[in-house]
Amino acid sequence: MNWLAQCTVIQIMSILSSTNVDNILLLSVVLSAGMTSECVTYMTYIKDISEEGRRLGKLFYGFVPLSGFRLIMVRISMYMLSFCQLIGKCFGMSILYNLGGPVLVLQVLGGEMLAYLLYKVVRKDLVYSVSLKSKHLIIVFTLLQRISSKIVADFTGMLHCRHPYELGGSTGC
């Protein structure tokens, strides 16, 4: 991890010291990361405070305080977590992209995904319990859901994707 941190620092220093950086492109990067973080934070916040969520999923929803300074702190922390996770992950992937091109990026992402799905298979926790008639449909739904939540959680650190039955618990280690 240390080399990655050093590379990140070097690259940030390069961005800051570079004279060729297009301001609009830089704005685009910051805006994209900011908007993504805002999306994820707002989504988590709204779902967590919703009456329906708290009533039906008491174990899962309800970590956001409902008022006061703690509410503000939790919202800021969620935003910062998403923003830093996205920037960090993008830096890491960009280094891989520049080292080995899209093939290396796909290999790393695919490897991570395969390891995650295998882990779920070993734990007998892969398939969701959904009310669909066809088994094939259930498997397609499960794979789409697992892959999308893994990618969203990896890139944005979305807290609701870190549930023990999703990416949390020992999967997070």
Binding site: L25, L31, T36
Partner: protein, 343 residues
């Protein structure tokens, strides 16, 4: 037991049977049975449903309900009464009806239990009035040490403080809890009168989800940011093409296109049962103003019209998940890669 059968000459096809049974010393069980043509039940539009709801039998029952409530004594009021009182305070009025201030005065005059309570506790009437009339500004002020020492001015301060807390809190529940924590005398008051907290929750919920200019502005800002984000993404794609990196530009464009297509698909799945609403949602998605509509609906707690596959909160979450998964993450990644490639 008394039974009343209401039959209207103008609407002979609608019948309403009202049964009132006394089940305790101060308790009645009211059952209402509506008989109406099947065609009325098949009506799906909001306007048609509203037309049924304000029809004469319903209005009459609402009127009877209010009269019952006005005659309830303070000693017998429980949590359910709090919910009913809250509904009466937050009932929406049409243009033909009186304004909010005069309706409040009517409430204090007609409702015997509330009139008695406001006489016994001077702070109560200004407290409820300032909450319902949405008064916000005002300092914290000093509170008396017992309920008897609280004056009308204290009630006004308590109401304004409640509104300020409601504005800052995530939900009405959070606001009420913070308010009770700050003013322990109100805990004592709520223990004496069990109807008080349910009434406060209901009024708070209504205020929290009221349509305001602030919420409209917040939604418009969300739309502006979404649109600006897309414009900068398109600028980045154009930059790639100009620099001779058409492949990467094409991949980014594909992600933006796939995201839009999936969002259109999601809108179609949710709203396919109502063609006019579907057309509207499609237009909002294509113009990137859909996030604003989603946010506004969630902020104002709009109820489903009946044709939707999921409630507004879930719709907004699904829409955002698609946006993040198919557009935001890939575009952020490629934008970063572009900067790295230039060093």
């Amino acid at each position: 037991m008394s039974r009343v059968r209401l039959k209207h000459k103008e609407q002979e096809n609608k019948r309403c049977t009202l049964s009132i049974v006394q089940i305790g010393e101060n308790e009645c069980k009211v059952e209402v049975l509506f008989l109406m043509p099947l065609a009325l039940l098949k009506m799906t539009s909001k306007k048609q449903k509203e037309a049924i709801m304000i029809s004469q039998p319903f209005r009459m029952i609402a009127c009877i309900h209010q009269i019952f409530q006005d005659w309830r004594t303070l000693e017998t009021m429980d949590k359910l009464d709090g919910v009913i009182m809250g509904s009466l305070l937050t009932a929406k009025s049409t243009s033909a009806q009186k304004n909010l201030s005069s309706r409040m005065e009517e409430f204090w005059t007609n409702n015997r239990s509330m009139a008695k309570l406001s006489e016994e506790n001077k702070f109560f009437k200004p407290l409820i009035n300032s909450i319902v009339l949405h008064r916000k500004r005002g300092g914290p002020g000093q509170m008396g040490k017992s309920l008897k020492l609280l004056t009308e001015q204290h009630g006004e301060i308590l109401g304004r403080q409640f509104n300020s807390m409601l504005n800052a809190a995530a939900t009405e529940e959070g606001a009420v809890q913070s308010w009770l924590k700050k003013y322990p005398l109100m805990v004592e008051f709520s223990e004496r009168h069990s109807f008080f907290l349910p009434m406060l929750y209901l009024v708070g919920k209504d205020i929290k989800h009221a349509v305001t200019w602030e919420k409209l502005a917040s939604s418009a800002i969300a739309a502006a940011f979404a649109l600006f984000d897309v414009i900068t993404d398109l600028y980045t794609i154009n930059y790639y093409y100009d620099k001779g990196m058409g492949d990467t530009g094409f991949v980014m464009l594909t992600f933006v296109g796939v995201s839009l297509l999936l969002q259109l698909g999601l809108v179609t799945v949710i709203h396919h049962k109502n063609s006019s609403r579907w057309r509207f949602e499609i237009l909002a998605t294509l113009t990137y103003t859909k996030p604003a509509f989603n946010k506004f609906r969630v902020l104002t707690n709009q109820k489903s019209e009946g044709h939707e596959l999921m409630p507004p909160v879930t719709e907004m979450v699904c829409f955002k998940i698609l946006e993040v998964f198919c557009e935001s993450i890939p575009v952020s990644f490629f934008s970063f890669s572009l900067h790295f490639a230039s060093f």
